[in-house]
């Protein structure tokens, strides 16, 4: 655990677009998303069009990194591109009323309700979010 389970992305990701700030800020160890300036809906993933009111006026907000495990699995057969087994989590962040998923790179004591924090793991010069245990 703790070592990269992936060194090369098996997927193409479109970058350099209106939501580039999301990727840039991940590289600064920040998790950003968009919020609608018209109806205040908090989005995840970030959006250019609010799905609640169809406003295109969105602003960037920074999310806190703390959350709790809602569900988890130990993926023993890694998908294409992933080299080793890993824990996969569904996490509910304190700042976001939507679950997010990610690999877990912390200690082996994992259970539903455990407090975790977002961490960052670099793949091909781009940080992606992962989770690790919260140290109080």
């Amino acid at each position: 655990m703790g070592s990269n389970t992936i060194t090369h992305l098996p997927y193409k990701i479109e970058k350099g677009t209106k939501i580039q700030k999301f990727w840039d800020e991940l590289n600064n160890d920040n998790l950003m998303t968009t919020k609608c300036k018209n109806c205040s809906e908090l989005h995840f993933p970030p959006r250019t069009l609010c799905p609640k009111c169809y406003s295109t006026k969105t602003e960037w907000v920074q999310l806190g990194l703390s959350g709790k495990v809602e569900s988890f699995t130990y993926v023993r057969t890694p998908p294409l591109g992933f080299e080793n087994p890993f824990y996969l989590l569904v996490v509910r962040l304190e700042d976001l009323d939507k679950p997010i998923t990610g690999r877990y790179v912390g200690d082996k004591d994992i259970y539903i309700g455990k407090k975790v924090v977002v961490a960052f793991e670099q793949i091909e010069k781009q940080n992606f979010l992962v989770f690790k245990e919260q140290v109080d």
Partner: protein, 394 residues
Amino acid sequence: MQEEIAVVGAGVTKFGKRFDVSYRELMAEAASEAINSMDRPITPNQIQGLYVAASIPELTVDQAHVANLAAQELGLEPEIIARVEMACSSGSTAIRNAWAAIKSGLIDTALVVGLEKMYANTQAANHGLCIVPDVTYEATNGITAYSGFALIAQEHMKLYGTTRDQLSSVSVKNHSNGAKNPKAQFFEKGEITLEEAKSARMVSDPLNLYDCSPITDGGAAVILTRGSLTTKFSEQPVWIKGSGQSVEPSLGVSNMKSLTEWTALKRAAQKAYQTSGISPSDIDVAEVHDCFTIAEIIEYEDLGFTAKGTGGKFIEDGESALSGSLPVNTSGGLKAKGHPIGATGVAQVVEITEQLQGKSGKRQVDGANIGLTHNLSGFATHHVVHILSNEEAK
């Protein structure tokens, strides 16, 4: 009263590893199975609508524009034609679109063919499955179909006390049914024991190999027509009494309301029950989307066969067994019949059609008059439900 629409032809190919046929040969075989099931086989000039359900032929066999390929192979000049891609629910979505085109009055008769050839390029097929969820924001984090459904299973077990034995019992039942279906991928394998199912290699906790459906080559086809024309083709039409579809505004996990209570399925089911005037207790036989064992357990609940949280008990008590009160997945389901993703939703309607016609051989449900199909895609984000009956007026 609006004119009802019926299935007048239905057939499936042998499912499994089909290195003996090309993609287009498989397409022709599926169509041929449906045409030859008809009391008076249809001719090309009678087919006005053509729908091809195919999810990943661009990846596995390097062929795009496959509905046009079907027009070529089957010698058709339809007035309405479309290729339908909704991942694992492409088949039922194509049937719903054909049904809607007939319902609208645009056409009278349509052929729906669903197929997938996944063993032609297994790496491409795996990639095709991996890119069904939200690739940019979720698949990059390592989530795929089996780990996604494992997360669903973990939460259902925690919330409702669903057990390892209950998950495996779904697999045992479906393999037992598949052992009675010569077209099933695992027909030759025969039955499996609970011990075998429980002790299989773990894939993503708590789902092991026997909790997961396989990749498959296979095709299925149905022919639909309006009520006034059924006698031209069939002595035993099977009527589409209800049809419902719904989707979550979520491509992955992030925008789903709940992992374990599928609100889109409940909406689709309610629509199908409402439009048919049929209730869950009227259903004699059902084909549901058991891509993973946990999915079948949640579907018992959200289709209204049993109360929320009691899906595990429903399988444990044998209610969904061939001899139970509501036999589910008599074909073997996705688990044992196989899951050629574009074909699955069509093959489910074929199985129910044959059940309601009394043609299901060793797996026939005695006195089956009303059947249901359920087909899903993504992390249970999109659902299609059909209700069929062998009587026009219920």
